[in-house]
């Protein structure tokens, strides 16, 4: 799984549920207020891949990032399109986000 070190750093710490934690850096995503920018990045298309703490917003296709490894059932927010989402595991075994109205 490709993770760009400058954007997401796996700090190797597990929380009480045994999840890895990540330090997020600003990736230059400029569509939300500065204090929220590190939680989002652009999908770079074919060749790009998601880190364990990332999912794609199905509404606006922005990559949503968390400070912790994501698991099915987690709630995430897409601020660029203002969607509330729930992380699910799809048939291929990878994580994706579904809109929770």
């Amino acid at each position: 799984m490709m993770v760009e070190a400058l954007e997401t750093e796996d700090i190797g710490v597990s929380d009480s549920q045994g999840r890895r934690r990540f330090l997020l850096d600003d990736t230059g995503f400029d569509e939300v207020p500065k204090k929220y920018r590190k939680f989002y990045r652009k999908w770079k298309g074919p060749g790009d891949s998601l880190a364990p703490n990332e999912v794609i917003c199905p509404v606006c296709k922005v990559v949503i990032r968390s400070t912790r490894e994501l698991r099915p059932g987690d709630r995430v927010y897409c601020m660029p399109c203002m969607s509330r989402l729930v992380v699910v595991r799809n048939e291929a075994g990878t994580l994706e986000a579904h809109v929770a109205y």
């Binding site: 939300v32 939680f39 606006c60 987690d74 709630r75 995430v76 927010y77 203002m82 809109v99």
Partner: protein, 262 residues
């Protein structure tokens, strides 16, 4: 009702759902968001971006496309402003007020681009070149707004029209001249908020009032062919290949399908 100051937790995804909505539907959020990508631009593009000379046939096609973009943006401007009065709560009213500002800006930058391309009277040119399908769509949208049908109007404007614009602008930006590309990419960033608001607002309404589904389905049936005709016409002018047209058609339908209207 007092406006709450939203606390910022370590991870944004830990926010309470109501705090999230209060935050993203605020003027403060909107202002800081657009500041990030509009600061330093002039009419939607960097002042030092050089204009590329276009062949006459390409310039003429671009003028037609921009004229249709102006029709869509005018529809959204008039629709969003009319919807503020019938929005069911403060958060929706405040969000729509930010959308009105966005749509006004979009119309302005597209008209300005038309002037850049040598069109002396852009608004008259829009009247001359506007797609009949898009004009019919605009008329029907404004009828839904005037009839105070919140769900149907939000569906027509923030789901159908915005999804169409989001898909078309994004695709057009990939092949456009440098100035038009910058203008379009800025508009797409605004459109993310508009499509998200529409889908989530309607999704919430459908969840608590499933009986409105039949009415929305009827509106979809009525507007689908106008949208798909507009899409095909615009793609032809932009010069998009058939497979990309199909992809855009599917992209437009995705949000509609997520809401359960296949």
């Amino acid at each position: 009702m007092a406006v709450r100051s939203t606390p910022v937790p370590t991870d944004i995804h830990d926010l309470d759902p109501q705090d999230f909505l209060e935050e993203v539907h605020s003027f403060e959020f909107w202002f800081q968001a657009v500041e990030g990508y509009l600061t330093g631009l002039s009419y939607g593009h960097k002042p030092d971006t050089l204009d590329t000379p276009l062949a006459e046939v390409d310039r003429d096609r671009l003028v037609t496309v921009l004229c249709n973009y102006c029709v869509g943006e005018t529809a959204a401007l008039e629709g969003a402003s009319g919807l503020i009065a019938i929005a069911p709560n403060r958060l929706a009213k405040v969000f729509l007020s930010t959308q009105v500002a966005d749509e006004g800006r979009h119309l302005e930058v597209f008209l300005h681009r038309l002037r850049d391309l040598g069109i002396k009277e852009p608004e008259a040119e829009v009247e001359r070149r506007a797609s009949r399908s898009l004009q019919l769509f605009k008329r029907r949208l404004l009828e839904l707004v005037a009839s105070k049908d919140w769900e149907a109007a939000i569906f027509a404007q923030n789901v159908i029209l915005e999804a169409l614009e989001f898909a078309v602008f994004h695709s057009h930006a990939q092949t456009a001249d440098p100035i038009t590309r910058e203008v379009l990419l800025g508009v797409v960033k605004d459109e993310r908020r508009h499509i998200g608001f529409g889908e989530n607002e309607l999704g919430r309404r459908l969840a608590i009032a499933p009986h409105i589904r039949a009415r929305i389905g009827q509106v979809k049936k009525e507007l689908d062919h106008l949208v798909l005709d507009t899409l095909e016409e615009t793609m032809k002018h932009i010069g998009v290949a058939r497979d990309e047209q199909d992809r855009l058609g599917r992209a437009y339908l995705e949000s509609v399908e997520r809401l359960g209207f296949a």
